[in-house]
Assembly symmetry: C2
Homo-oligomer: 480 residues x 2
């Protein structure tokens, strides 16, 4: 039989060569295919897509609670729309893919994001304060023709995401909800993905083209690079003015509304792989695992029937509450299967052989620690529930310890440079100016400001690079 | 206050001018926006998208049951892929939108359907019979640059759909499942959308480019035109050969597998509007209605508080099982609200005023018949459940009677032409040849073969047009 690459396990250690390790884990676990026929595009395979669907389901119920409704807007955007908001147009111009078909004389681009095409509709939909707040979200594909090296999930020319676009009567409401969705994102990261994050504001240089303020939440990857997990933009009134969105207020006068937009993407799958994975492969948090429990029967000729029967019963019982796979393939050894399901990151492995059956027990093996326990079959559901909760807590607290241990402060250039070299996330006093940030990036070979904490007070010290008065504290690091 | 178009109701009768009626209903009910900035593209508004999500949820659970898994493949397809399957390439060539960016020298087109890009991956994923059946589905957007007049949901340049793509060891299994998904589609149409359909095979002329056999299910719209609701293709081994998909069989020899593909799209929303809508607007079957019950309180100053309190309680109680909206806006009269929610097709309206409250009852109004009943508040849930079931049955049986009454048989040209003129779906003996079908279309100003029933026996009569030996019975009509 032809041997598949997935059969061969991960051949490098995470600590030795993280990029190569990442590629192998994503591919061999069956999350995505690296051999997509067009450079920079990815095939999200069923195992990866199932994780994305869990993120979608969770987040759909969150936004529904906040009164957001899903909709769908066109893939192609006329050139004139991009021209309406100058900063936005300039920011996205290099990454646009134009199509050869035109609308009359008008060029059309595949959406890199949908502000413009949505706000054109909004300008017709919104008449009075009674139409506000307008809260719409769409799940869709977007295209950004990246010139940098692409990397599955983390930087690809096409990705899947949600983009929420809301319109409000007041600045206050807009700002409040801009931060609300940011909080919900952080909650998704911690509760669903077991990834702790830092939230804050982007610097002038790093903010979204056309936004008043961009907020971000970021996680620190094991190689010391920060990963932007998603953003929430307070767009102010800029787009509303450019797209002529107005409303008749409670005072019977015409006003310009306030807007925000916010998004998370399949990038989260990359964060998941890097944060929790180990030398054996993927380690999935229980709430996003497509398979939460895999049952491996230990089969001998004489006892096969009874063992299989019990395993099937377990699958049915546990299947009511959990996603359970019974791997009863006879052409593979249990050991081969252990490796295979460890590679796929399944949180709990349940082993059951004739001796276990005699004792009325099963062996439970945790993917995150490798720890083995036996559990009475009569208590199995309770034990599994406890174990899943333990796994969640362990994954989160391990990642949280890592974040804490690798976040440092610096108030002078030498300490700062050393910390960046040591792959730390570094909090420094910062003047906030784009030019200074360019210098920092240049001199540190790639460190950028990741975020300004929401509660940042003005430092009493000078900017770590230029020595001018510092305006804020900012976290710097290299990043994905 | 600025008056919205949605406030103004439908201004034409369905029987008088169905195209104009359709446009108004789709727009004014809030399903979709006609003012999309690029010709032939649509904005699916939250009310329309919520219906699509219900179709997605239903169908996801159906295919999951059959072992199909969701995935996602790239939006852009290299030109060389189209060239691999000659018929397929020729069929889609006129509708492709190419992008200006290239992959090396290779032109890239936005997907009109994903056979080619998926099967390229399949050729690497499939090694042995153990990898079969491979059953993958994707929900995505596709682009077909229609030159005909576009129409929201029914014929647009971009639409949303699901495309299932399965690979099997044997011809028999492939054919069986090709028909299985067709049956599931028919079930979706009848159970969820309350639309009866006829299923059958497409003629040589109408089959999918590259398919061995195309199966279709079609509904008859009130204007006598058939609507293709979705298709399931037995692709045979053609694509597998072109894309070099092979597997090592149980006999240790290399074999070419069998494939099918099957899809339904946002077109179904158009079928829904036309099948059930009336002069007041949309009429939605309960299972796809984004709002199943709307509560309208009848408010007077003195009794407002008690009435609103009871209405809120009803919303909470009924909200556990149904999707309920409480329209307590004070700036609109109850009468205005009745019109508004009728326009949006909400299955049941619940009215409650002070007199009702005194009597411990509420008024229930059916959207499909306008019938009013009163129900004890203590029995309300039971009454509503009964009513929803009645509405479903009524919608389906009305549509079924219409289909029966407008399906006729003809065995000679004159009767056939008369029946087409009378806007019937006509069953005739047919030679099956493409040339003859062209003639029929030409002479009848647009009638095409819709389907050949699955159990069609060879007729003893001659082809209704050319007089040659008839091979099959076929249904002809004009169509969308």
């Amino acid at each position: 039989m032809a041997k598949k690459e997935e059969d061969m396990g991960i051949t490098v250690k995470k600590a030795d060569d993280m990029p190569e390790w990442y590629t192998q884990v994503v591919e061999k676990s069956g999350m995505a295919d690296f051999y997509a026929p067009v450079k920079g595009f990815m095939v999200i395979k069923p195992y990866g897509y199932a994780i994305w669907e869990k993120i979608q389901n969770y987040f759909n119920s969150v936004i529904k609670k906040h009164g957001v409704k899903n909709a769908y807007f066109p893939l192609l955007i006329p050139e004139k729309f991009f021209k309406k908001e100058a900063e936005h147009a300039e920011g996205f111009a290099p990454e646009l893919a134009w199509v050869e078909k035109k609308e009359g004389e008008e060029r059309l681009a595949i959406r890199p994001t949908s502000e413009t095409v949505m706000y054109d509709s909004y300008s017709r939909w919104i008449r009075s304060y009674r139409d506000l707040p307008l809260k719409i979200n769409q799940w869709c594909n977007v295209l950004r023709w990246e010139v940098k090296q692409t990397k599955l999930f983390l930087r690809s020319r096409e990705f899947l995401w949600q983009e929420g676009h809301c319109v409000y009567e007041t600045e206050e409401e807009c700002q409040k909800e801009t931060l609300l969705y940011l909080q919900e994102y952080q909650k998704l990261a911690s509760d669903l993905l077991c990834i702790p994050t830092l939230a804050g504001q982007k610097s002038e240089k790093e903010k979204f083209p056309g936004a008043l303020r961009t907020y971000t939440y970021e996680a620190l990857m094991p190689d010391g690079k920060a990963l932007q997990m998603g953003t929430s933009h307070n767009l102010g009134q800029g787009f509303a003015k450019s797209f002529n969105i107005k409303y008749l207020g409670r005072d019977e006068k015409t006003h310009t509304p306030w807007q925000n937009s916010w998004g998370i993407s399949t990038r989260l799958l990359g964060a998941l792989v890097m944060s929790h994975g180990d030398d054996k492969g993927l380690v999935l948090p229980p709430k996003v695992a497509p398979v939460q429990i895999v049952i491996i029967p230990i089969l001998f000729d004489k006892t096969k029937e009874e063992v299989l029967k019990e395993c099937k019963e377990l699958k049915n019982t546990l299947g009511v509450k959990y996603e359970v796979e019974l791997d009863d393939r006879e052409e593979y050894t249990p050991g081969w299967k252990y490796n295979q399901w460890e590679l796929k990151g399944v949180p709990i492995r349940l082993e059951l052989g004739p001796k276990d059956l005699d004792k009325g027990q099963a062996v439970l093996v945790r993917r995150d620690t490798g720890e083995k326990t036996t559990a009475k079959l009569s208590d199995i559901q309770k034990e599994i529930q406890k174990l899943l909760e333990k796994i969640e807590m362990n994954l989160f607290s391990k990642a949280q310890n890592f974040l804490k241990e690798n976040t440092v402060e610096a108030d002078n250039w030498n300490d700062f440079v050393k910390a960046i070299k040591d792959k730390k996330l570094v909090k420094v006093p910062f003047c906030g100016e784009a030019e200074c940030e360019d210098w920092i990036k240049d001199k540190t070979e790639g460190a950028t400001s990741r975020l300004i904490p929401l509660d940042s007070k003005q430092p009493k010290s000078k900017c770590v690079q230029c020595g001018k008065e510092a305006k804020v504290f900012a976290y710097f690091s290299k990043s994905y």
